[in-house]
């Protein structure tokens, strides 16, 4: 009986850290894939200035989303459909496409464990959890416009700097 109790106690203690981290268990997700249900961003800080072609082409209409925010498969899907890029034609020459895709895939999230590949960063589980305290009204502010506009609140977004204490949410 005592052994059983000890066993039960140790098991509870061991699993406590996992249960205390509500990132996995809330929202009805399974912890099977780990943190953020496996949809976890990787290293976002850019090494150096990133890639010039990527910066030029992907940063002309929106902040160039750093590769670590999504898994390689998401980037492959994006780069395979640039003529219909969220309602716009963002097409590239085959050479530019190749160079950018290579850069994105090499630097994509190395912590993504789920077999998913969302097209939108804002639909990934890590994003939703990280921004779950931001009310819908905030996204609609003229100074922000949408969740896709990272640099409205993250001044260092272009460099992959999303440090929490540097966040400033404009009025």
């Amino acid at each position: 009986m005592k052994t059983l109790a000890c066993l039960f106690l140790s098991l509870s203690v061991l699993s406590f850290p996992v249960m205390a981290d509500d990132d996995d268990e809330h929202h009805g997700g399974s912890a099977r894939y780990g943190k953020y249900n496996g949809e976890n961003r990787g290293k976002t800080a850019l090494s150096g200035k990133g890639n010039n072609v990527w910066n030029q082409e992907c940063g002309s209409c929106h902040v160039a989303y750093v590769p670590g925010l999504l898994p390689a498969e998401s980037w492959r899907k994006i780069m395979g459909g640039l003529d219909k890029h969220f309602g716009a034609d963002a097409s590239l020459t085959p050479q530019e496409n190749r160079e950018i895709l290579d850069y994105l895939v090499v630097n994509a999230s190395n912590r993504w464990r789920a077999p998913t590949a969302p097209l939108r960063i804002t639909e990934s589980y890590w994003f939703e959890r990280k921004h779950d305290e931001v009310s819908p009204a905030v996204w609609k502010r003229a100074s922000i416009k949408s969740p896709a506009n990272c640099n409205a609140c993250h001044a260092g977004a272009a460099n992959g700097d999303f440090e929490e204490h540097r966040v400033h949410i404009p009025r």
Binding site: S60, C61, H62, V63, D83, F86, G87, A88, D89, A90, S91, K145, S146, A148, N149, A152
Partner: protein
């Protein structure tokens, strides 16, 4: 001897700078010339390019869209991407000298944006008209 040398250097540098300043305009002229050649092929009675026509085309509505959605109707001012809010540098070369200086870039953006605004490629006539207008903006 020395002052002659430095004077020559100054003159050389200044001419170089002047050439540099004209280079972008040369590229635009070259492109307009290419569009003229294409336009003649597309239209036997090609009337030449018109800045007025280019202005009307650029500022006007095409279905639900307009070039002004991102570039605004003041080409000397910065624009803003209609969806993302990203700042778009002025398009008029008089306000932003690097504009129209890279033929590949000009063609790339015509391809994308004509598709976005018109759901088709722009004709050589339309491209030439727009470029003629852009370089004429003071």
């Amino acid at each position: 001897m020395r002052s002659l040398f430095s004077k020559s250097v100054v003159i050389a540098v200044l001419s170089g700078a002047a050439t540099g300043a004209h280079a972008a305009g040369d590229v635009a002229s070259m492109l307009i010339g290419q569009y003229a050649t294409q336009a003649k092929q597309e239209n036997a009675v090609f009337p030449g390019f018109s800045a007025q026509q280019g202005k009307a085309f650029f500022l006007g509505r095409h279905g639900n869209e307009s070039c002004t959605g991102c570039h605004t109707d003041n080409l000397k001012a910065s624009g803003k991407h209609a969806k993302t809010g990203k700042v778009i540098e002025p398009l008029a070369p008089v306000a932003n000298p690097i504009r129209l200086s890279d033929p590949a870039k000009v063609e790339k953006w015509f391809k994308r944006n004509c598709n976005d605004v018109l759901q088709r490629a722009c004709t050589a006539q339309e491209k030439g008209d727009v470029m003629t207008w852009l370089v004429s903006i003071k």
